[in-house]
């Protein structure tokens, strides 16, 4: 009885731990892109944009949210103010 009241609560934080690890490790074990692809991706994105607009390196903001089903990569680029 003692065990029964304690068990569900214990199991839930352990379950959360398992899920967090599964999501993280699925990403870490290889999407085939290599672990350090983000700096390279940023470099390439900047290069493409610079062909058209002059932007600074820190004008690019990349956010990531890794999920079980989908992950999202959000890229914000601050463009220079138009000249008056």
């Amino acid at each position: 009885m003692f065990g029964r009241t304690l068990w569900p609560r214990r199991a839930s934080s352990a379950q959360t731990a398992k899920e967090r690890l599964q999501i993280l490790l699925a990403h870490e074990r290889g999407t085939g892109t290599g672990p350090d692809y983000l700096p390279a991706l940023q470099r390439d994105i900047l290069e493409v944009i610079r062909r058209h607009v002059p932007v600074e390196q820190d004008a690019v903001e990349i956010r990531m949210e890794r999920g079980r089903e989908v992950s999202s990569l959000e890229i914000n680029i601050e463009l220079p103010a138009p000249r008056r």
């Binding site: 934080s13 352990a14 959360t16 731990a17 967090r20 999501i23 993280l24 870490e28 672990p35 350090d36 983000l38 700096p39 940023q42 470099r43 390196q57 820190d58 690019v60 903001e61 990349i62 956010r63 990531m64 949210e65 890794r66 999920g67």
Partner: protein, 282 residues
């Protein structure tokens, strides 16, 4: 007359969380102290210096949002503000994760110095989560520190390693090398403190440890299942449901800020009580 009020820039204080020995609670402590300071409204950043074994992000619960890291910043592949992860619970809290794919040789003294200088402009407190050991990674984590929290468990190898680390803090750091600089203020944080095992004489008492290390005590964190629970869900212990370990960390944060907070857990009465209850075992 309209004079623009000059906003006072914080002069970030750098605090290293170190120990020598692994598994004593450095990362748990870095997350707890970082979150504890941020909870009090101080702009705080916690940096993971454990290159190759990224763990702080998991303990802080931001592992899914890591894009760039400390090493990317040092190597000029990303700007600092791109690598900083803002905590979703406390807006005064940020994490600077480390790289999982490189090794500690990717850290350079100049690189670390430049990043810390930039962080100092923006943050009140910069918490450095040191790797275990006494080699390069651990030495870089402590080199620029103003204060040190030496995380120690009440057992022989941990105390011995803490002693070595105290020696390094007093000799191999910027403050130690600079003529006329105040030495690093080092304090011991006793963690994984198990009153029952101390009562049985299996573990050293607070007095034993302090007598050997001869530095002030920042606090005593009990061994607690709440720590494991908090790490499972990725919440620093001071932000999780109230627990004795969480309160002990909050007290340690208060002392870190110079407040005079009495030790809540009275470990010296516990042994006597235990002895009376269970009979002497030691």
């Amino acid at each position: 007359m309209t004079t623009e009020l000059k906003q006072e820039r914080p002069v970030g204080k750098i605090i290293v969380i170190t120990s020598g020995k692994g598994g004593v609670g450095k990362t748990t402590t870095s997350a707890a102290i970082g979150a504890g300071l941020a909870k009090r409204g101080h702009k705080t950043v916690v940096i993971d210096f454990d290159v190759g074994l990224r763990n702080l992000d998991m303990i802080m619960g931001c592992e899914r949002r890591v894009v760039f890291d400390f090493i990317n910043v040092i190597q000029g592949e990303a700007k600092l503000k791109q690598a900083l992860i803002k905590d979703r619970r406390l807006e005064t809290l940020c994490v600077l994760p480390t790289s999982q794919t490189r090794d500690k040789d990717a850290l350079t003294k100049e690189g670390v110095e430049a990043v810390l200088a930039e962080l100092r402009e923006e943050f009140d407190y910069i918490i450095c989560d040191s790797p275990a050991g006494i080699e390069k990674g651990a030495q870089l984590a402590m080199y620029f520190a103003d204060e040190a929290v030496v995380v120690t468990n009440p057992e022989v190898s941990s105390v011995r390693d803490s002693d070595r680390v105290l020696g390094l803090l007093a000799s191999k750091t910027k403050r130690a090398e600079e003529e006329g600089a105040e030495p690093i203020k080092a304090q011991v944080l006793l963690t994984r403190y198990d009153a029952q095992r101390i009562a049985k004489g299996e573990m050293m008492t607070v007095e034993d440890v302090l007598e050997i290390l001869a530095v002030p005590l920042l606090g005593i964190i009990p061994e607690s299942p709440a720590v494991l629970r908090a790490s499972n869900v990725g919440v620093p212990i001071v932000l999780d449901a109230p627990s004795n370990a969480g309160s002990a960390y909050e007290d340690a944060v208060a002392r870190l800020m110079g407040e005079d907070v009495a030790l809540r857990l009275d470990p010296d009465r516990r042994p006597g009580l235990m002895r009376r209850l269970f009979g002497r075992t030691a």
